[in-house]
């Protein structure tokens, strides 16, 4: 069957999460540079079609700074993205869940 608008909206939300994660994973990050990275991630992904908002929070407590900085992974951040596709809004989040950076759909508007 063809996808419904709600299903397309969910597909679009997934694209943004995969893009955000795999574009920026591996970026050198420290507590000093976390804020500029958060902003760049938000602004970059917001460029993509149907993207209403992107919010990235890097937890400075989660950064291992034994060597002064570390490389960004899912352990360090929570992300919320809102997509609007033909007036269907999808809210999706990424957060750690039992050691895995789980991405999931929170809600889809009717």
């Amino acid at each position: 069957m063809d996808p419904t608008p709600r299903e397309e909206a969910c597909f679009e939300a997934g694209i943004k999460f995969g893009a955000l994660y795999h574009q920026f994973a591996g970026t050198p990050v420290s507590s000093e540079s976390a804020a500029s990275l958060e902003h760049a991630m938000e602004d970059a992904i917001s460029n993509q079609p149907h993207c209403e908002s992107v919010s990235v929070a890097i937890d400075p407590e989660a950064l291992d700074t034994t060597h002064g900085y570390t490389e960004l992974t899912g352990e360090h951040m929570t992300v919320e993205i809102v997509v609007d596709y033909e007036n269907r809004a999808v809210v999706a989040r990424m957060a750690m869940d039992e050691g895995y950076p789980l991405m999931r759909v929170e809600s889809v508007s009717e």
Copy 2:
């Protein structure tokens, strides 16, 4: 509203496309190295949850080899990904569409 299994399946398919694209965009590629890159992209993304199959075709004709190689972008490839989430199968594709690497859901099973 909570997402349906079909909507979750579409979200999962989107994640795989965003991941594949943004992990590998920028990789140095030539007609000689295209095949090993295709295989690695397929195998890498197939590791992700709910991923049934990944098929990547890099078009050697699309590679600008003025400098011997180029960097992979959406212009160079078509991708098909099949996701199975709680017995809902999603088939999604990426291909060039009017100069833009368009990712879209082809079908969702009932």
Copy 3:
């Protein structure tokens, strides 16, 4: 032969260029989001060892905005990085040269 300190300094400068380029190539970018991406690239790479300064300039004129945004490549930016390794300073630059984003060492201190 073992490398000299000047040679090690050049190796370190090369690492920073390769890292910057391949971490961020493919990032969605528009004239609105270029500034936050420049800052994040500068701050991220500055975390790496022996890095004195990083300066990234994304040229908004070079961005193809047919689709509202594009993906960052070497065509869009010039970069200058200064490395200090055991008191040897290396200044290196990346800029377009006959269609290729050429990275080169400008000077090495004695």
Copy 4:
């Protein structure tokens, strides 16, 4: 001062390491997919100018497979790259050193 050919060779070797690391860090990898990723990394970076050989070994023992796969980082691999720049050969390696993926020049030919 201008760089010597040996210094340029070291700069080129550094570029390859930074590129390899930051292009592929974050790639989903399992013991089943490690071999195709190794080959793709070798072939991709070998495209770059002055690159004589690239050898990547991903250690399957180092992969955390609690979730079936993990994301590639420096902990999982050793890399050797040989660059030839105007007949100066540089051999450089990346391996873990006290918890840090250290990249270093092993030797530079006269």
